[in-house]
């Protein structure tokens, strides 16, 4: 049964985090057994929530996304495809809780930015880019060139923007693609590409999330150019790690989920009557899936916000104040490696990769390279916190490397890699890891605004490199395999 299987998978990815925190409690960061207790409770909520959520996406969100994609394609109307793509991107982003949080943060620091304008800019950005990604598939424009052109534009914009906006912009790229939207957009891509009889349909199945996250990056950068001249208020970053009561926590999480799920459910129902006309059995399945996903995500967010976030900032602060500050860096590598596996969308993406490739790309391999990537990201984020290095020193070489690798990596892996950027930077990294980094940065007496923020941007970047690395390995192995089989044939 799938639920038990998912339960086992998520448990085996969350338990290492708990063990790590217990080891820290016993050694250098005694946060107190009370906190450990709440952390374990939170971990249980996360495990159960994540399993339910993944089950819900499996039976509800993914099938509907795929059906919508293929139904749109089968209508054979480019304008329809583009308009619906735009609407989907716009609507699911405008309601995304993480976008609201981001807009809130930005307006706190720079009061001259209008919050509604920012949210609208980000959502329009996603809408335009989803529709662009559809157009690319239909018009068979190479993914590589789309990425090159748009990252070129992003780079030019970045040169004219306040460096402060740079971090926010790249954070936005990762943050907008939340746990509800990523599965839907991923499935949409698989559906659109799946009905086309083309050699490229496998690689076209991915890359939608990657293109969609360029939207918010450029939107925020543009806002930055417009708002420049107003120096950001040097307000100290305050991460509300205050202990919420259970009731508050529950209502906050439910609120967040309803906010993200509502528009998606509305879209689904509209699609049902206009595009899909699913059998009533499938319609019931879809509703069931949405309910499971909502329930799961509520539990998950309660665990993350109620237990993981406060413990994260406590840990960061304790180690930052302590005499073993250097520990932050290896600990960052370790934390990154384990925490990414508790990120909901990561499991959704790896499942899709396995299905589309017919199992030839192993789920476990992709997970290992995700782990490697985020490990690198959090490690580097800690280096930044300890040595106060600017984000740009990491982003430019990183993205440059990812872009160069595109020319050597099999296109399928490039597309998966650019998706994985948005996928890896989910609620776990934007709460637990960010809280940890902020805590450490404050304790070290640095400027958390410039040193700690940007960790999400790093988490969204490094998988581009490691997943493409996996692609290179696969290509290498395939070549070897072919040589071998030719040899064997000859010897027979």
């Amino acid at each position: 049964m799938n639920l038990i299987r998912k339960f086992r998978e998520t448990a085996s990815s969350v338990i290492p985090i708990v063990l790590l925190v217990i080891v820290l409690q016993l050694t250098i960061a005694p946060i107190g057994w009370r906190s450990i207790g709440s952390f374990i409770l939170g971990a249980v909520a996360i495990i159960v929530g994540l399993s339910l959520f993944l089950l819900g996406t499996d039976i509800g969100i993914i099938p509907v996304g795929q059906r919508t994609g293929s139904a749109l394609m089968n209508r054979r109307s480019l304008p329809l495809l583009l308009v619906v793509g735009f609407i989907i991107g716009l609507i699911i982003t405008i309601a995304e809780p993480q976008v609201q949080v981001l807009a809130q943060q930005v307006t706190t620091y720079i009061p001259s930015v209008n919050r509604m304008h920012l949210v609208l800019a980000i959502s329009l950005g996603v809408g335009i880019f989803v529709s662009l990604a559809f157009a690319r598939i239909v018009l068979t424009i190479s993914y590589r060139w789309i990425i090159i052109v748009f990252y070129g534009i992003v780079t030019i914009l970045a040169l004219f923007t306040d460096p402060f906006f740079l971090g926010i912009a790249f954070d936005a790229g990762g943050a907008t693609t939340g746990p509800m939207t990523v599965p839907f957009i991923l499935a949409l891509g698989v559906g659109v590409a799946g009905v086309r009889k083309s050699k490229k349909s496998e690689q076209d199945s991915f890359g939608l999330v990657g293109i969609a996250s360029i939207g918010p990056i450029s939107a925020v950068l543009l806002m930055g150019i417009i708002a420049s001249g107003n120096d950001p208020a040097p307000a100290a970053a305050e991460m509300t790690a205050a202990s919420l009561s259970f009731g508050e926590l529950f209502s906050a999480s439910v609120n967040e989920v309803v906010q993200a799920l509502g528009p998606l459910a509305a879209l689904f129902i509209i699609f049902q009557f206009t595009l899909l006309h699913q059998h009533h059995r499938q319609f019931i399945r879809m509703i069931q899936g949405l309910l499971y996903a909502a329930l799961g995500l509520t539990l998950f967010l309660m665990g993350v916000n109620g237990a993981f976030m406060p413990v994260g900032s406590q840990l960061g602060a304790l180690i930052g104040e302590g005499s073993y500050q250097w520990v932050l860096i290896p600990l960052g590598f370790l934390l990154g490696a384990v925490v990414v596996l508790a990120e909901p969308a990561v499991w959704v993406l790896t499942d899709q990769v396995r299905d589309v490739s017919g199992g030839s790309i192993k789920k476990s391999m992709v997970l290992v390279f995700f782990s490697l990537g985020v490990s690198l990201a959090v490690g580097l984020a800690m280096v930044r916190v300890v040595y106060h290095l600017p984000l740009i020193y990491f982003l430019i070489p990183g993205y440059l490397m990812a872009l160069i690798m595109m020319f050597f990596c099999p296109p399928l892996f490039t597309a998966i890699a650019f998706d994985s950027g948005g996928v890896a930077s989910g609620p776990m990294s934007s709460s637990f890891l960010l809280a940890f980094t902020l805590g450490a940065s404050v304790a070290l007496g640095g400027n958390p605004l410039s040193d700690a923020f940007g960790i999400v941007a790093l988490i969204a970047m490094t998988p581009l490199i490691t997943i493409q690395l996996l692609g290179l390995l696969y290509r290498h192995r395939e070549k070897d395999g072919r040589k071998k089989s030719v040899k064997e044939d000859k010897s027979v």
Binding site: L55, R196, D355
Partner: protein, 230 residues
Amino acid sequence: MKVDTVYRQGKLLLSIVQSGVGEALVHETKGAGARGGTILIGKGVAEHAILHMLGLGDAEKEIVLTLLSDQHVEPVLERLTHFRRNKRLACGIAMLIDVPHILAHVLHTETDDSVTESQTQRRSSMDTVHTLITCIVNRGTTDEVMDAARAAGATGGTILAARGTGKEEDVKFFGVQLVPEKEMILILVGSGLTGKVLDAIKGVPCLAEPGSGIAFCIDVERFMTLGGKS
């Protein structure tokens, strides 16, 4: 040395196992003489009605196809009776299907017996106890097929994603053919039930309307459960 391409008689071993077990199974059969195996990804449909109703019934499965020449059938099956991943629980099923022609490459010197054998007698003693019913229908309609089959007494099924090949006259969109998305469902039933289940699924819209789906059944020579209590 000359290599000949011939057709031989043999068996197809079709195993449906839990996700992640496929490779171990191929490894096992290779140890007993099989040349290789092909793994497909599928989805198991619940046997349990309540789980199915709650949407909890699906399970990830792997389907392993292994072609065996006659002399390897017994050793491979023997090996599989000891195959288990878990002390108590079964990890899948395996069925043996007769295949009249398997493409094989053999050294010229070996050919004499194999070629002639494949053209002569085929075992006719088909006292099969199981039948594998296969339907290929439009994607998303397998639920209806499975419902009908279940009502007629079938226990479970396995679904594979597939797509039609597309014909010349198929619709094009910006120069690229659009192909119909399909699903293939495998339902194993005891021979006593074959007629009943076939009759039941005949009435399902996705098979009843001309041109929307196909169904066929294959006799299974032998059937075994993999793993579990011996």
